[in-house]
């Protein structure tokens, strides 16, 4: 097989596998930059995917499914917000709780409503997100090198994939070029100063948490309406944690988040493609090692062996006004 074709195949599945990671990691970016740690990305994504699968099937509309995913995911993040901002509970504990509640509730409700053994009914074409062919993709295919790259790598994804990649510069712009972004970052670094400036720390943090819910919902909808034809039990399969790892790996910055997600997506795509093929120089790599690599890399990074990942300073600490 010629190398270009091989590269394109690998790159294409990398993009497919990275899309939900990017959305979820950006979701984590908004809430953690506001000082609310969230290990419940996994649960919100799964809840979103479930809501999308149910509503898209009942309404036969992908957009309705997407909306439902966002609503459910935002509600879940409000629970997290209420526990960790208003009640000043432990943010890690709250995140763990949400992951469990969603993991159980989706299965119970899915079984009660659809009786299909841990899945929602398969969605027809109209109820899913369709692949978008960019203009001139077919016409330009003949152009050497750039033609196939445009036709197969840039074109031919679902709308949510383009949205995910657009959200990267958009998040950068929101965080670093708007008043809202400045305040959001400040509230995660030094909430006392923000309070002194007359801005409500509580409300800022709630807004960060809501942004997280919206993006997690979209990530979930991508899983059940674009990558698959419906929701299946436990379909997030640890993607929320990988996204969390990517967020740390990127040191809580939007553009590196995208590259970290692409790296982890690539590792995944590579592991799937080359499960049993020996590689030049290294020989046969156990597939388990490839699966563990994102986690190992994150641990190594966190331990400060490749740069140092410093979380937002007020992250994980509930804000107490009276002191």
């Amino acid at each position: 097989m010629d190398y270009l074709q091989l590269f394109l195949e690998l790159a294409q599945s990398t993009v497919r596998l990275s899309t939900p990671l990017i959305l979820a990691a950006l979701a984590g970016l908004f809430t953690e930059r506001a000082g609310v740690f969230d290990i419940g990305l996994e649960g919100k994504m799964l809840g979103g995917a479930f809501a999308a699968g149910c509503v898209a099937f009942v309404a036969q509309s992908a957009m309705a499914g997407l909306l439902a995913a966002v609503v459910v995911s935002v509600l879940l993040s409000l629970v997290h917000g209420y526990a960790s901002i208003t009640q000043r509970g432990n943010q890690i504990v709250s995140g763990v709780a949400i992951n469990f509640i969603v993991a159980g509730a989706t299965v119970i409700l899915g079984e009660a409503w659809f009786h299909q053994g841990g899945r929602t009914p398969a969605l027809a074409e109209g109820a899913r997100f369709q692949v978008i062919e960019l203009p001139f993709a077919e016409a330009l295919r003949g152009v050497p090198l750039l033609g196939p790259i445009y036709a197969e790598l840039i074109s031919g994804h679902q709308a949510l994939t383009y949205l995910a990649f657009l959200m990267v510069p958009a998040s950068w712009w929101i965080l670093y070029r708007t008043r809202f972004g400045l305040r959001l970052r400040a509230v995660g670094e030094n909430p006392g100063a923000v309070d002194t400036a007359g801005i409500s720390v509580i409300w800022m943090r709630y807004r960060g948490v809501i942004c997280c819910g919206i993006l997690c919902g979209i990530a979930g909808a991508y899983l059940s309406l674009a990558a698959n034809a419906g929701w299946t039990k436990g379909m997030t399969a640890g993607k929320g944690y990988i996204a969390l790892a990517a967020l740390i790996f990127a040191k809580w910055r939007p553009v590196p988040v995208m590259f970290a997600c692409l790296l982890f997506g690539f590792l995944d795509a590579f592991a799937i493609r080359y499960q049993s093929t020996p590689l030049p120089l290294i020989g046969k790599v156990p597939v388990q090692l490839m699966q563990a690599l994102p986690y190992i890399l994150t641990v190594v990074l966190l331990a400060g062996f490749i740069g140092k990942a410093i979380p937002p300073r007020a992250g994980g600490v509930p804000y107490v006004k009276e002191r």
Binding site: I108, A245, P286, Y295
Partner: protein
């Protein structure tokens, strides 16, 4: 840390508030049952009956409780030092190697009471080793223990998948498990203990690991409240600054605490491997490490609270199986919801009902005193 709450009597702090949190968690779970179109009361009946209806059922309940006592103690020990060890799942999983090695090595030449101590040692060592790195990273390199232990759970899953696939599986076998142990690798059941109460264990795997779990709970109590190390751990948990000022070596305490926590989580592996299946299977931990979080939160990190909390989760697991059998629309995933709700209400939202309860208790005791005064006059 400042506590903006009034000091409450012990029975409110350790009895009433956890009870209210628990009742709310179960009430919400009941709503889910209603939503599915079943009767929560009927579900509760099947759960209690399934957990206590027969000697065999009680055996299963206590078998699960054994597992949860270990993982609950693991989380609690770390809590006392202000650390959140979310990696009990991975530590228990890797500790399976220690148990399996001891059994594969000795099961054909030694009786169980020789193999058991070796296996305990193996489980403790492998569990502690898997917790050592996250502890060391936190102590020396400043990485956050929660994130590292989550990552280590996933790394453990891949490692164990590899070990069972390539190393520990007998040649020519297709299923991902070690060979079945001979008599030396099989722990005796506790039928004598049950027969005291006139019950029979039946087919349930209730075994001597339960006694080890009770001993571990006592050991943790001694460690935390009766030793110098425990005092240092609690000091650090209350105020790292004060601990540093008092000359307590923070890094040392973090690493030792994590290793003790990992060893406790690891001992959980004895129960399913040597007590039930007599072989190490893929995914034998089955989320017990995470149940430990709920158990420790509910038990307020005290062994005297952890044991009843572990029994409660044993009831949920065993009774949940009965519910799933009697009411097909409620599968065992109901347990996962309840577990999540308990973590939410007993953990993250533990202070939600405190102001109301405080007011109620103060009003009640205030009136009581007034009554007494009237009578006295």
């Amino acid at each position: 840390m400042s506590t903006p709450y009034a000091k409450l009597p012990g029975w409110v702090e350790y009895g009433l508030i956890p009870l209210v949190n628990l009742v709310v968690a179960f009430a919400v779970a009941g709503l889910v049952v209603l939503l599915v179109g079943e009767s929560p009361l009927e579900a509760a009946y099947h759960m209690i009956n399934g957990a206590f209806g027969r000697g065999e059922y009680i055996g299963f309940t206590l078998y699960y409780a054994t597992t949860f006592i270990f993982t609950g103690l693991a989380v609690a020990v770390a809590f006392h030092a202000g650390l959140f060890n979310i990696g009990g799942e991975g530590q228990a999983y890797v500790a399976g190697i220690g148990v399996a090695l001891a059994c594969l090595w000795l099961d054909r030449i030694m009786p169980w009471y020789v193999v058991f101590p070796v296996a305990i040692l193996g489980a403790g060592l492998f569990g502690a080793a898997w917790a050592f790195l996250p502890g060391w990273f936190q102590a020396k390199r400043g990485s956050h223990i929660v994130i590292t232990t989550i990552m280590f759970n996933f790394i453990a899953a891949s490692l164990m998948n590899y070990m069972l696939n390539r190393v520990m599986k007998p040649l020519g076998s297709m299923s991902l498990e070690t060979r079945t142990f001979d008599a030396g690798g099989q722990l005796p059941k506790l039928d004598w203990l049950m027969s005291i109460f006139g019950l029979s264990v039946g087919t349930s795997p209730f075994n001597v690991t339960f006694l080890l779990a009770l001993a571990a709970a006592f050991g943790v109590w001694v460690l935390i409240w009766r030793t110098r190390l425990g005092y240092e751990m609690r000091t650090m948990g209350h105020s790292p600054q004060a601990a540093r000022y008092a000359g307590i070596k923070e890094a040392r305490i973090i690493i030792i605490t994590m290793m003790i926590s990992g060893a406790l989580a690891g001992m959980m592996a004895l129960n399913p491997i040597m007590g039930e299946t007599y072989r190490m299977q893929l995914d034998f931990v089955q989320g017990a490490g995470f149940v430990g979080i709920a158990v420790a939160l509910m038990g307020r990190s005290h062994p005297a609270g952890i044991i009843p909390a572990a029994v409660l989760f044993g009831v949920l697991y065993q009774g949940g199986a009965e519910i799933a059998f009697e009411m097909p629309s409620i599968s065992r995933d109901m347990i996962v919801i309840i577990q999540g709700l308990v973590i939410l209400f007993a953990g993250a939202l533990e202070h939600m009902f405190r102001p109301a309860i405080t007011r109620a208790v103060l009003a009640f005791s205030g009136r009581g005193r007034a009554d007494a005064a009237v009578k006295g006059a």
